[in-house]
């Protein structure tokens, strides 16, 4: 009798321990899950609220629309009609905090006193500076051999589009050019941001 009672008591204890053990395990699991969720959300919070400023910081300053002024070029009056000529001017180039005066030039083909075509000197293929070949009457890019006619048409080579014309105006016999740059390597003429 006594032995039996003792045995059943032991059994009871064993059962209780088992139930407790399962419960503790279950509790630690929910607790672990909760902590995982908390840690992920807190770290995520920091990542997002730091990541957002960081991306704006790195990229945004260069997506501001810039007003490009018309700049007077050197002697438009004296150049010969019909022959592509390089005309230069100084522009204030702003890169970050630094403002620098830079000398740039463009290809100008004078048609008459009041009419001209202005080509950007940058090859639309990959951004090299091309030259005028007076013997062949062609524009030649030294980098990859793109060839353009005097009208800017592609005659040969890898250039995806004709030469880029630049907006300009002629006032009192003086040529004013807007120094714009276009994305190279694509068939469309698209302003660089």
């Amino acid at each position: 009798m006594v032995e039996k009672v003792e045995n059943s008591k032991e059994d009871n204890n064993q059962n209780q321990v088992d139930i407790n053990h399962v419960e503790v395990e279950k509790n630690t699991q929910t607790r672990k899950d909760f902590i995982k969720l908390s840690v992920i959300s807190l770290v995520g919070f920091i990542t997002v609220l730091l990541g957002w400023p960081v991306i704006e910081y790195l990229i945004k300053p260069f997506y501001r629309s810039k007003k490009i002024p018309y700049i007077k070029t050197s002697d438009f009056n004296t150049i010969k009609i019909g022959i592509p000529t390089k005309l230069g001017f100084n522009i204030i180039h702003k890169s970050g905090f630094l403002k620098q005066t830079k000398y740039e030039d463009v290809w100008v083909i004078k048609h008459s006193k009041n009419r001209a075509t202005v080509f950007s000197p940058i090859c639309p293929h990959l951004g090299c500076r091309y030259n005028w070949d007076p013997l062949k009457n062609e524009f030649m890019c030294p980098c990859h051999g793109s060839i353009f006619s005097i009208n800017g048409k592609v005659l040969g080579g890898p250039a995806p589009r004709p030469l880029d014309t630049l907006p300009h105006k002629i006032e009192n016999g003086k040529l004013y050019v807007k120094w714009e740059r276009f994305v190279v390597g694509i068939p469309e003429k698209e302003l660089e941001t």
């Binding site: 509790n27 929910t30 607790r31 672990k32 909760f34 902590i35 995982k36 969720l37 908390s38 840690v39 959300s41 807190l42 770290v43 919070f45 920091i46 609220l49 730091l50 400023p53 960081v54 704006e56 910081y57 790195l58 945004k60 300053p61 501001r64 970050g96 905090f97 630094l98 005066t101």
Partner: protein
């Protein structure tokens, strides 16, 4: 779902066959903490988090920063005002560094109280000291990179101090400084040290610190009963660490928004209105060094840091009892308390004190006081800007025959008075060559010989001219101090008896040569000053010294009790032709007047050409410009492209943070998540 989990399992198997990823995670996360996780153990993780933030913000700063003496300050100003969230990144790096330093202190105090440096953790403690010293290196080199007025001089003091250490000092100084004077090479080198030497070193030593730490495991509580309860690093301690990181992050943003670093103005090697002091983590050292005077100075400079470091290094070897309970080791606790309170007291007094003439003597002696700078600074090292001595040397050119004789007879006071006379602005209105003058004031030799004023009258004339003549527009010079006024008085008295003209007027040819000193192309009419963001507080000090005597207190020529000279315009409010609500246009508008001067339309004094004559440096002009803008309600340091306005950003952070915490609390209550 099943395929997904089997796929990830497959992937992790693939990785683990090639790299001990699981072992590494196990090593870094699974650890028992005797006595359970606690908020008192968060400092290490917090430091790691802050270092990560410093690395991120530091790299981001480098994407805009230029380590050049000409452009460092400008590029950082641009970054803060024109780059979206530039203000956040810059201030975060600044406040992160300060927080890092403070948390290192707290971490060390925690380890000390818990006795966690004891056997077998001595090496963790020693590596920790190396980390603290590396941090000191960061805190020394970092600020100088900003190249502003405060940090430039802090660097100058620090490097000079290093140079006074016997034998090794000159060597260390020349490695860090590169050349004889602090300049471009110094900046480039300190930049290299900061990012390419100290940073890899701190990563290396943190690695060692962690490896040594994991080897022994967490020291846990000292209570033997509580030690039987075992907590886990993951997840228990990690949760507490993350909560603290979250709070630290929000706290950092709060600091950046409400306490942004002020614009101190461009570093100015010729500045004479600023007293140099080291960065705050070194103030305790700086204050302690004041006890060591004269020949003891180098002893202090070497001895004090060595003793402090030795005390820390020897701690685990001197205190070798096993007992960790702080209540049972009162002697060590008292020693620690004395050590910490000594450092804190010295820090406090160092913060409050004015620079002493002991430790920074070398620097101070090279920084000649303003009134003498034109004459005596010519041979000094700080000629990296322009030499403004050119002008006054021409003005003060003496008759060579007369010189030898007069030097014997004139006393020192007369000579000092003459120096003051040529530098404080008397020559703006007066001449002293014995001929009638075209200037606003009378020629002093003629006037003094005619009127025979006594010393008392002259003194009053300098201190409060209106007492002698209520209608005069002569400004008061009381600000230069009694000693200098007395010297001026004896100089003026001496003028009565001098036979030959002492002050020569600049001849036309000399004027031309002066102009060739500062060539101005038509393209660049504006001075360099317009590119610097000035400090209006420093601008006020300069204004009071250079501009107040004509333009009145705070630019109010109409202020009661102030006698403005005729033809001098008020600056507050300034003429509407010059005013602009855009700070850059406003500065551009007023710049030429400060640089080139302007003739007076009435018979008052002309506006001096502060820039052309180099009587003010470009950084100083930028400060005065900032102050004039401030007087007219325009903020020179307004953020033009903030991304999101600082305060709005802080509220966004706060709102999202609160919502997230609320969500976690509700989740916890609903799911009945048990406590530890």
């Amino acid at each position: 779902m099943k395929t997904h989990s089997s796929k990830t399992e497959h992937f992790s198997q693939w990785v683990n066959a090639r790299f001990p990823l699981n072992k590494f995670m196990d090593w870094s996360l699974h650890e028992e903490i005797p006595g359970g996780a606690s908020f008192s153990y968060i400092f290490g993780s917090l430091l790691l988090f802050l270092l990560g933030m410093q690395a991120i913000t530091g790299i981001l700063l480098m994407t805009y920063y230029v380590p050049s003496t000409n452009y460092a300050y400008q590029s950082l100003s641009y970054l803060q005002l024109h780059v979206p969230f530039g203000w956040l990144i810059y201030n975060m790096h600044y406040w992160g560094a300060n927080l890092f330093t403070i948390v290192i202190g707290l971490h060390m105090i925690r380890v000390f109280i818990w006795g966690s440096y004891k056997k077998p953790r001595e090496l963790i403690w020693l590596i920790g000291i190396v980390l603290a010293l590396l941090t000191a290196g960061f805190m020394f080199t970092g600020p100088i990179l900003a190249w502003n007025r405060i940090t430039y001089w802090a660097g100058e003091v620090g490097l000079s101090m290093a140079g006074t250490i016997p034998i090794f000092g000159k060597f260390a100084q020349s490695i860090l400084q590169g050349e004889g004077t602090i300049g471009q090479v110094t900046l480039t080198r300190l930049f290299a040290f900061h990012v390419m030497i100290l940073f890899p070193l701190i990563l290396l030593f943190i690695g060692l610190h962690l490896i040594a730490f994991r080897q022994q495991g967490s020291s846990g509580t000292w209570n033997q009963v509580k030690r039987k309860i075992k907590g886990l690093f993951w997840p228990d301690q990690i949760l507490k660490d993350t909560i603290v990181m979250f709070i630290a992050f929000v706290f950092l943003i709060w600091l950046c928004v409400y306490f942004p670093v002020p614009f101190y103005g461009m570093a100015d090697p010729k500045d004479t209105f600023f007293s140099p002091k080291p960065a705050w983590p070194f103030l305790f050292l700086y204050q302690t060094l004041k006890f060591f005077k004269g020949r003891l100075e180098p002893v202090g400079i070497v001895g004090v840091p060595i003793i402090l470091i030795l005390l820390l290094v020897l701690l685990p070897f001197l205190d070798r009892k096993e007992e960790r309970n702080p209540r049972k080791r009162p002697f060590v606790m008292i020693c620690g308390f004395v050590f910490v309170s000594f450092i804190l007291t010295m820090l406090f007094f160092g913060y409050r004190s004015k620079p002493a003439s002991t430790a920074i003597h070398a620097v101070q002696s090279s920084k000649v006081s303003f009134q003498q700078k034109d004459i005596s600074q010519k041979t000094e090292k700080q000629q990296s800007f322009h030499s403004d001595s050119v002008v006054s040397n021409l003005i003060v050119k003496k008759d060579p025959k007369k010189t030898s004789k007069s030097q014997k007879t004139t006393n020192n006071e007369f000579e000092t008075g003459k120096k003051i006379f040529t530098t404080v602005g008397c020559l703006d209105c007066h001449t002293a060559n014995g001929k009638p003058s075209h200037k606003a004031g009378p020629d002093l030799i003629l006037a003094l010989r005619k009127n025979k004023r006594n010393k008392k009258w002259l003194y009053t004339q300098l201190v409060s001219p209106q007492k002698n003549d209520p209608d005069t527009f002569m400004p008061s010079y009381s600000y230069i101090g009694k000693a200098k006024i007395l010297a001026l008085v004896s100089f003026l008295k001496g003028l009565e008896t001098t036979k030959k003209p002492i002050i020569k007027v600049i001849s036309k040819s000399q004027k031309k040569s002066l102009q060739s000193v500062s060539p101005k192309s038509n393209l660049e009419k504006l001075g360099k000053a317009v590119a610097f963001i000035g400090d209006s507080h420093h601008g006020k000090i300069l204004y009071d010294n250079f501009c107040l005597k004509c333009h009145g207190p705070q630019g109010k020529t109409y202020a009661s009790g102030f006698h403005a000279p005729p033809g001098v315009p008020p600056l507050n409010p300034i003429s509407r032709n010059l005013y602009n609500s855009n700070q850059q246009i406003f500065v551009n508008n007023i710049d030429s007047r400060l640089q080139n001067g302007r003739p007076n339309p009435a018979n008052g004094p002309d506006m001096p050409a502060f820039g052309d004559s180099h009587s003010l440096t470009q950084p100083e002009i930028s400060d005065i410009e900032a102050y004039i803008l401030h007087l007219n309600g325009v903020n020179r340091t307004e953020i033009i492209h903030p991304g999101v306005k600082p305060k709005s950003f802080f509220f966004i952070v706060l709102e999202i943070g609160i919502l997230m915490v609320l969500f976690l609390i509700i989740y916890r209550l609903l799911k009945k998540v048990p406590g530890q």
